[in-house]
């Protein structure tokens, strides 16, 4: 009796394992170019689901227009669980089993860096879509890795340039206690100090990522009595920080600068409590009136019935970049694709983008503006689009950082 029940349970467990495995191996069209997509779809879905939607929209449009080199593009999408070791295993599998031509994607910096190392060692093309780590194209860069999204340094430099125009002298910073937070603070300090040697940094706070003790951190910042605050927290940490900061009067009469704070992923959940008057980078999707963005916006809203997030536009641009690269390379051979990626230019909803030959960073820019609240929603006002090309260190500095390749 118990044996039978056990058998049923075990069989059920086996079926659960088997069904998705069967489903996964059914679809294989004959004459397609396969692209391996690796991302943390379950660890940070608020960011990665819009990314996937952007990717799929672009693919649909590219394929409807006849594909590339007469072939349709096919995406093989996998979840890395936010683990670098897992991502590398999946990359092996995508190349060995699924025969993809290249891989793209990833959000977390350490996962992106693991794939960077993989690409360099295995001589496979990797287009890093979203990870922001500066090291990815500089200190740890290699011939086979390219990055689309404007990096930590670029976005911090855009903010520092604007912040330098403010008379504020005493600065405090708050950033999550990991590489992205550290990089973001270091880059901001460096650029701000260059433009304004008279500023001083009077306090630094480093809450654990997604574990902020917001009340205590806000108090610690207030104690230093700064004129201005540079915030790098995001997600749930940002919501807690903003709420505590407002209630405790931290932001009163202070300039607050927020990296990524204007991205819909982070400002939308705050609704009418979104901070007002912060200087931020973000994505004011409602107000970009260029025809190419309008076309993208209409198609996206038509397809999904919701507005795009920053992840959506990055995903969309990633596929545009890959299609343009394949068109230019005329081949799916890795070395030819890498050569085509170098200096590749293409037009995107956010304007023309070039992958720099010198460090493989794209010149995709970011929108810099002030936050405001309108109709119970956080928005960006007085924004400008800053071209990424203007916010990169001088060439000789880049060459020094990048290993010879």
């Amino acid at each position: 009796m118990t044996f039978t029940r056990r058998a049923v349970l075990a069989a059920a467990a086996a079926a659960i394992v088997a069904i998705p495995a069967l489903g996964g191996s059914v679809a294989h069209a004959a004459d397609t170019i396969k692209i391996g997509d690796i991302n943390s779809y379950k660890r940070l879905p608020a960011h990665t689901i819009p990314y996937k939607k952007g990717v799929e929209l672009a693919l649909k449009e590219i394929n409807a227009a006849g594909g590339v080199m007469g072939k349709q593009l096919e995406l093989v999408s996998r979840d890395d669980g936010g683990k670098p070791g897992e991502a590398v295993k999946i990359a092996e599998e995508l190349f060995a089993k699924d025969k993809v031509a290249l891989i793209s994607g990833s959000l977390f910096s350490h996962v992106g860096l693991a794939l960077t190392a993989f690409a360099g060692q295995n001589k496979k093309l990797y287009l890093a879509a979203e990870p922001l780590a500066d090291a990815l194209v500089w200190a740890k860069g290699n011939r086979y890795t390219f990055r689309l999204r404007p990096s930590t340094y670029m976005q911090a430099a855009m903010l520092a340039e604007q912040a330098a125009k403010n008379p504020a002298k005493r600065w405090a910073t708050i950033a999550p206690n990991y590489a992205y937070g550290k990089d973001a603070v270091a880059a901001f300090k460096k650029v701000l100090k260059q433009k304004r040697p008279d500023v001083e940094f009077v306090a630094e706070q480093w809450p654990g990522l997604f574990k902020i003790d917001a009340g205590a951190e806000v108090q610690a910042l207030a104690k230093a009595n700064p004129d201005a605050i540079y915030n790098v927290t995001f997600g749930g940490d940002l919501a807690k920080f903003v709420r505590e900061g407002k209630t405790r009067g931290l932001f009163k009469d202070k300039l607050v600068v927020g990296l990524l704070t204007g991205e819909p992923e982070y400002i939308d959940p705050l609704k009418d409590e979104a901070p007002e008057g912060w200087l931020v980078t973000g994505y004011p999707w409602q107000f970009i009136k260029t025809p190419e963005h309008k076309k993208f916006l209409d198609a996206y809203q038509g397809a999904y019935g919701e507005h795009p997030r920053i992840g959506s536009i990055v995903g969309y641009n990633t596929m545009l970049a890959i299609a343009a690269m394949l068109e230019k390379a005329g081949s799916t051979e890795t070395e030819k694709m890498v050569d085509a990626m170098k200096g590749l230019s293409f037009d995107s909803p956010t304007g023309p983008i070039t992958f720099r030959e010198i460090d493989h960073q794209s010149t995709m820019g970011a929108y810099v503006g002030r936050t405001a609240v309108k109709d119970g929603q956080g928005i960006m006002v007085d924004w400008t689009y800053e071209d990424g090309a203007n916010y990169l260190p001088p060439d000789d500095e880049v060459r020094k950082m990048r290993p010879t390749s």
């Binding site: 056990r6 349970l9 075990a10 059920a12 467990a13 659960i16 394992v17 998705p20 489903g23 779809y41 379950k42 879905p45 608020a46 996998r78 979840d79 669980g81 670098p84 070791g85 897992e86 590398v88 295993k89 092996e92 599998e93 060995a96 910096s109 350490h110 860096l113 693991a114 190392a117 993989f118 360099g120 060692q121 295995n122 206690n177 990991y178 590489a179 550290k182 630094e204 706070q205 480093w206 809450p207 654990g208 997604f210 574990k211 003790d213 009340g215 205590a216 108090q219 610690a220 104690k223 749930g236 919501a239 807690k240 709420r243 505590e244 209630t247 405790r248 009067g249 959940p269 409590e273």
Partner: protein
Amino acid sequence: MGFYIVQVLTGLSSAAALFLVASGLSIIFGVTRVVNLAHGSFYMLGAYIAYSLIDLFGRGGLGFWGGIVLAAVAVGMIGAIVEVLILRRVYQAPELFQLVATFGVILVIQDIALLVWGAEDLVGHRAPGLTGAVDIMGTPLPAYDLALIAISPVVLAGLWLLFNRTRWGTLVRAATQDREMVGALGVNQAWLFTGTFFLGSMLAGLGGAVQLPKGGADLLMDFNVIAAAFVVVVVGGMGSIFGAFLAAVLIAELNAFGILVFPEITLVLMFLVMAVVLIFRPWGLLGSPEAPGQKGQQGPPEQPLRPAPVRVQMAGVAVVGFLALLPVVAGPFALVLTVDILIFALFAVSLHFIMGPGGMVSFGHAAYFGGGAYGAALLIHYANSNMESAMALGPVLAAVLALVFGWFCVRLSGVYLAMLTLAFAQVAWSVVFQWNDVTGGDDGLLYIVKSAWADTAQSWVPFYLLTAVLCLSAMLFLRRVLFSPFGYAMRACRDSELRSHAIGINVLEQRWLAFTLSGVAAGVAGSLYVFSKGSAFPDYMSIPLSFDALIMVLLGGVKTLLGPIVGAVTFTWIQDEISRFEYWRFFLGLAIILLVIAFPQGIAGFGRRYLGPWFGIRAEEAQ
């Protein structure tokens, strides 16, 4: 002055949610001995359900507080359902086995929450009438903080009354002390356990719900709170509600003031506190030593180990033959996956070595896996070493870590020992994570290149064979040790510390050496892993990896020597298969839960019972 008073009060209010969650966990563990990893999921559900209920009821005073209370009750009911449907079926399993089931529950709840509430973070409603700030000597304090400060003592008093002034509470306390005696006296244990789960989960739900005005609901809450909750429970003393309160306040206040002096201490502070407390008070602040015979072991004592019968040995040879032939018959990715499986099998076997025969459970075994990984990676990076010597010397770092941490850990026992290993592992992790200049922080160490002959960009076969030889030899070596005088002495220390001592075994030294040997074996696995992946990251030392190993061992069967291998193969392979599917966490969780219920002695334990006789394993051993 106002600043410091407000900082104290801020700390007290941060302690509130932590105390609620931890008290629930402590009650559940005290009575049922279940290490409930899903407790964080109940906290998360409390936040989400309260959010939806407040939306439904409106944001008035009644809607807000009513929503919070109802959400807590709803979560309590979910906890009770989990207990009745799943855990009740596995109480007879070996110690800690239930935590595998609760791990499955975490995965299932994560995907359900994503499906129901969506991916976007929800920012919590503000408490009506408590949105402003109170001025305390010139420094503002959010009014809701005062409400939170009031909630903990009220709940604490309520729990005290419940446990000391009601019959049910008396029974719960009795079961905490000696649950078999309570059963013998005719108390219906099943309902007592269900009731305990209801209460404990309700407190977790309440914790999640009351923190809404301070934050909100998101999908990472469960993992983010669970480690902290365990730390509070252990620092306070398992099963002690007052201890949990004291520990929550202690940790929250140390954090509130610690960040003023060392802003970067946030990652590691509570684990440092736990390590210090456990070194000086091995049962937590207000806990009491475990009574003899109360280690939660179920069933008859284990049979002595016997060498494998001929048929089992032949099966082993067949497996080795299969592995040797694999490069000929299988494609490259099968080799990649098998390399992962072999490495994790060695990792799981090394954990099982101290956990099963050694009787020392480690919740922080990834420290030594990561130690081996970083040992090798640092050699490559700074000493320009080649792959062979880095692989050979990498585990030395694991050995050093195991020697140092083990010296403290082996003095403890049971869950306290396990939590001290966790604390040390977390300290090691945070050193690797923070020490950018040397370890590269969480950007890791990249380009850990293999020697030319093992370059996997060309072919995986040489590296696969290297891994297979090293992992199999290490596993066989650990097995051999179990049948040596050293292994006998180690098992003697597990079975009776007193008698071992009496016959002249230095118990602490014996356990210390066993702990170190196990750490070295984990380090070998780690140094192989770092070469197979080509880069090293702090993840290789992190809590999730430690628990992966624990789940492999338990799923396979802690009371068999093959268990960890079977568990590692099953877990790694299933995860690889299922992760192709969109809602893979739901299905992985469900598969784990079904396996747990089907094989309460672990998969290998089940295999031994039913296939053992055919392989020539004696009947009394197979039971």
